[in-house]
Symmetry: C2
Subunit: 607 residues, 2 copies
Amino acid sequence: MDERPESTLKAPHTERLAALRGELAARGLDGLIVPLQDEHQGEEVPACSRRLTWLTGFTGSAGLAVVLHERAALFVDGRYTLQVRKETDTALFEPRHLSDEPPARWIAKHLGGERLGYDPWLQTPQSIERFQKAADEAGGELIACKANPIDAAWSDRPAPPDAPIVVHDLKYAGESSAEKRRRLAAALASEEHAAAVITLADSIAWLFNVRGADLVYSPVTLGFAILRNDATADLFVDPEKADAAVRAHLGNEVTVRPRADFPAALDALGGDEAHVLADPGTAPAYVYDRLESAGATVVRGVDPCQLSKACKNDTELEGIRTAHVRDGATLTRLLCWLGRESPKGTITELDVSARSDELRRAGRLCTGLSFPAITGAGPNGAIVHYRVSEATNRTLKAGELFLLDSGGQYLDGTTDVTRTIAVGEPGPEERTRFTLVLKGHIALATARFPEGTSGAQLDMLARQALWQAGLDYDHGSGHGVGSYLNVHEGPQRISKIPNRQALKSGMIVSNEPGYYKEGAYGIRIENLLAVRAAPAPKGAEKDLLEFETLTLAPIDRHLIDAALLDAAERAWVDTYHARVRETLAPHLDSDTADWLTDATAPLEGAP
Amino acid sequence: MDERPESTLKAPHTERLAALRGELAARGLDGLIVPLQDEHQGEEVPACSRRLTWLTGFTGSAGLAVVLHERAALFVDGRYTLQVRKETDTALFEPRHLSDEPPARWIAKHLGGERLGYDPWLQTPQSIERFQKAADEAGGELIACKANPIDAAWSDRPAPPDAPIVVHDLKYAGESSAEKRRRLAAALASEEHAAAVITLADSIAWLFNVRGADLVYSPVTLGFAILRNDATADLFVDPEKADAAVRAHLGNEVTVRPRADFPAALDALGGDEAHVLADPGTAPAYVYDRLESAGATVVRGVDPCQLSKACKNDTELEGIRTAHVRDGATLTRLLCWLGRESPKGTITELDVSARSDELRRAGRLCTGLSFPAITGAGPNGAIVHYRVSEATNRTLKAGELFLLDSGGQYLDGTTDVTRTIAVGEPGPEERTRFTLVLKGHIALATARFPEGTSGAQLDMLARQALWQAGLDYDHGSGHGVGSYLNVHEGPQRISKIPNRQALKSGMIVSNEPGYYKEGAYGIRIENLLAVRAAPAPKGAEKDLLEFETLTLAPIDRHLIDAALLDAAERAWVDTYHARVRETLAPHLDSDTADWLTDATAPLEGAP
């Protein structure tokens, strides 16, 4: 993944690990837990907080290291077992599988009677619970560090991001921050909670109707907030980030305060002996400890913004629909170009990546990408979280599949779409398996289910056709998507991983079954869906929900074996394609429109 | 549910509650948590341990009371909201919904700074965790009682059950206790655990190949065990229960010790500073506390018998198949009698119950029922956990449905089967909804899925047809079943309740979708299934599993609207019925065999 020779790449980590161990010794600690997350537990971490990468060299999106006196381990999941060996000196850090041998079990085995440190800003009460049990089991101690020992050893640590906050206009947000704060404050008051502490960046963005650019793909500003049950709030961010317009937008009920004031504000809540809501799954353990030692009672509960944010209002839904028209037109132009040029054998993954980014960024209301595009040709398509580099770059070749997963951040919505295309003529196995994936996609798209149903209950719909052939895919079938916010958001999810959150009207989820043949090709078909009320059948006793497909882009008909679809499935494809064609045509040049007409012709006429 | 007038029924509870409060005051406590469970956390509780019933009058199968100075609450689930008001004086105990307002939340609200007691023998570390958090939140204290305060106030408490232990023959068990102990001991040794503490009655029965009669429906003996990593074990039961034959069967590696020795044996493990496995979900908190204070390290892990017990060996599976032939013949005789007699309007639910029990008990190798039969005529069928009494007894009437859920304990297997029959001619709504339930039953029966799939992932298969009509049912779609053991056993389950336990070859689960129209009728179709390997399709990359249907009894064809079934579903019904007919016919008198021939005729010929 990186072209520098291994020795250059790995050399500094010996020194860094030694420096860290020196720092730990000076503090009377025998070890340290080094997570990937920062204080906001988001998927993206700014450069100044990439402590795990600084220490180990590992750049994956999930991982955790445990450093002890004599040994250290780096825990990564199945996606990164190869990458970790390329990026990390395994003589320094033993690579371990995050779920097969979880860090807590490793700690229970190896800690002995020693003192293991952790940074309470980077761990949540939930995440620390397992480590506490493991340390108890080992007969050791778990010690909250006053300051992060890595920061002391990290001499050239980058500055924290300082992008200005921007107002997220009511015409996109659909509900004013004051209304949102009052709604949430009333719920706090009814539970007799004095306040809630909010530490997730996307919750803060949603609650105050602000956005930022502290991260590359998620349009948020990094900060903390306290929302009181009278709807007033404190927002803890670098004051430089909030100009006069932002302050005017926030109004009198919201006080902008420096981040450094946050601990003292927690103390003040404690001084009032307040009952304070904080999310044990996302708030720093530091927040819990500080509130409790100051005299507050911490109520464990989900971040109160999460569910409200997930259920989009009509303005947001309308915005997302129009964003999808623009995004679909952009993707269609790209697919048209790919369809014509790729069989020539001159286009590379990097070319597609560059063109996709360029086209999308030029779109109206686009502020950037929602994640780095995945452009996997042939065997690279089978690497689920593939990210092209000069070293891995492949040319698209006739007879191979090409997988493109990309998305944009628009002021009126966030997109995320995957299409798999045949370069030239596809083989019969590829067509069969693509069609099985498509059957799963259609089964999820057309699901009807009672209120109260979770995404976990629906997950198998997307897999059942593959199962019958002895096939499956090793990722979820759908994730929540924000409204000009994170491309992955909770609390809903369509996955076999247990999750009791019911799907609710207005939620947006992806529908993305896939199939991956290692060393050969990858298939994924991803549309975004909005949950909406379904018409009630005669005699119905339950309110039913269904999905509205939001994404508008053709599905490659060359890869569909229509004989494997039943009549209802064929009708779904034709109806979807007609909708794509009719909706996008007015936004396309005539050349692309002609291509789309062919690409969306009814399946009966398919080759 | 009980014929005594309410006043007689409720009077003693005022005194009992007052006596309990006096006992609490004498111990310096302000309250007490009163669960339904005993030390073994089983579904059935012997008379001597029915503390909740003694205190409140409530006889349901799930509930918990919290007694404070000024108020007390009784938490029951949706099944018991009506029953609790009949059985319990709501002036003494406010009825609350177990999941809508969980006890922990109620405690957090009402405890204040007080001292709340609990019996650490009756709570598990997992169950007590929530109460601990709630007490912390309220600013109160949670106190483990040295002896149960109810026992002190309960003057005429029944003696503990003293049924003798019987040997479960190797020809039914299929694996000797020594082999089972060695297999589990090797796993303990490989994890460097010195021993495991076993407190579940069905685990003990399985591990030692013994059965008992301490409970009515579950053929177990109540006791505790310690299994060491050298395959030796201590079994803590009343020594009177184990005669010479049982002791000879247990052999030299197993020491029978009085129950009273159990705490000292935990101390001894602590004296060795041993690592001891105990299940935080099922072992008493007392076991954890005692081990820890004696110096042991308690390792939190699932009872090691659970998964092994759930995966039946070939001998057990063969036993269960033959038990189902006998059970099916018995049920068929009952259904034949019902089909002929019930339309006359002379048979009551109690009559069916008595005849069902009598026929089953007369069966070869039968030692009793696996649960009290549910015999719900008309609206009583809509009460999911209905149990007929003189007060509720209904006559079966033409035009109504009748639901019969029953099962037996045989030395070679445990059965559990539900059939719904039309008394006389059924209405069109009943036929439609029965057929939707049947579609769900068939979808689950014919499922094929990769190794690693949990029952939670499959649950919706049984609901999907109902969902399309806006209908559903409010219970799981399947539970594990023991081998001449508990009719409900874990760790597997087919339910929307999150459960990551994969279905494994040899597991037995029920397949029981239903539909209930309050005040009108109930429908349920239940067969038992065994999980087995499925043939691999060409090109399969995953090992697939499927179900073998074990239960053999006709499904009422009068209730099937064949027009609502597709060809594959019709074929499933006809094939199943042909198998039922051919397998059972040799075991039936000619009259019943003739009836069965009609009852299992192909659907094409259906009226």
